[in-house]
Amino acid sequence: YNIFPGNSGWKKSELTYRIVNYTPDMAAAEVDAAIQRAFQVWSDVTPLTFTRIYNSVADIEISFAAQVHNDFYPFDGPHGTLAHAFAPNNGIGGDAHFDEDETWTSGSRGYNLFLVAAHEFGHSLGLFHSSDPSALMYPTYHFIEPSEFHLPDDDVRGIQSLYGAREVPVVPEQPSNPSSCQPITFDAVTTLRGEILFFTNKTFWRQISQESQAEHHLIKTFWDALPNHIQAAYEYQDKDQVLVFKGAKYWVINGYEVTKDSPKSIYDLGFPRTVRRVDAAVHDENTGKTYFFVGDKFWSFDEKKQAMDSVTPKKIIDGLPGVGSKVHAAFQKNGLLYFFDGHRQYEFNAAKKRVTRVLKSNSWLKC
């Protein structure tokens, strides 16, 4: 992370904001919700509070404008520059401007206002661009499902270097004990020495054998060096390793030890810089290939050569018919591949190149 040189942020923790005008692309209520949630990203991890005001000038003035708009930083029409915001200060300091020539949405079409606003408010609070590709403060836009958004560690460290951490009552860090019978969405699934691990948020389910009851643990209890909210994982048995992915980094696990040279950069695996996270990964023992899922595409990686098979990825719907257009978690068991999407799981026979069963995501966990 980086902070603005010579700017140590706001001198107060109770800040105000005002939405000066609205974009016609979205309902006013949608804009209000996106802006409010974008502030919450930062207030969740700092002592800062954000109060909306209507009738006077606020610390952070939010507006939509096109082309020249009185700040010497004219917008450039559709695409290119989406928005900008100014470092904490009086007057224009802290203000955030959004390019009205873009198409703003609360979904994945066009540009998601919540994601862009959360980035811009990072500037409004004193953060400069980060060179960590998985950080919110990285300069380029990258869509992720807003419901899956968690402020990356790099940004948390950055904002807390300016304002400190939020003081919250200390609660014991025990995993809640949700029933594995409830529908669960997994962040990542992998085998580990014959067991199956199902990661979700800060915890994971551990299925030791098909007969046993699944155990539920905090990730930190087993691997202190791993982050929470991991996004992909796979086992490569030939090296007795599990690779765990979050953002543009990955960690290598040997059993219950994280290797000392972790985390590493995903770009060392051959991804282009436009890839900022891996949604899912699975090693296919039948082919010796590892498949990495990014958006609606997947990459094939040759473990022996330690190189991508092609410089361009394939569409999931072309390579894995029936699995859908996105994969959120995957693993292999008994020669079959299992792909997770929300509460669903697809059993896929690679030899027959078709889906053989559709299961609930928690079918491996004994209720």
Binding site: L82, A83, H123, P139
Partner: protein, 81 residues
């Protein structure tokens, strides 16, 4: 693959110059500068940009650099004023 035409190169160079002006404080006074001086200034800004994004630092407008420049992004500059 079609070979890159001189026109493509010219368009890439113009696009890159605008990009570097916007986000890397490339200063041009609007008057055509000497080829050597202007080239080295732009090349230095390209290096800064490549270094920031973790690209291979070549100082040239290669395909990875152009692809990164075409991505939608925040308008704030990437380097200190």
């Amino acid at each position: 693959f079609p070979a890159e035409t001189p026109q493509d190169s010219e368009e890439n160079a113009k696009f890159a110059e605008e990009y570097l002006k916007n986000y890397y404080n490339l200063k041009t006074d609007g008057v055509r500068q000497g080829r050597k001086k202007s080239g080295s200034q732009i090349s230095e800004k390209i290096r800064q940009m490549q270094d920031f994004f973790g690209l291979e630092v070549t100082g040239r407008l290669d395909s990875d650099t152009m692809e990164m420049m075409h991505q939608p992004r925040c308008g704030f500059v990437d380097v200190g004023e």
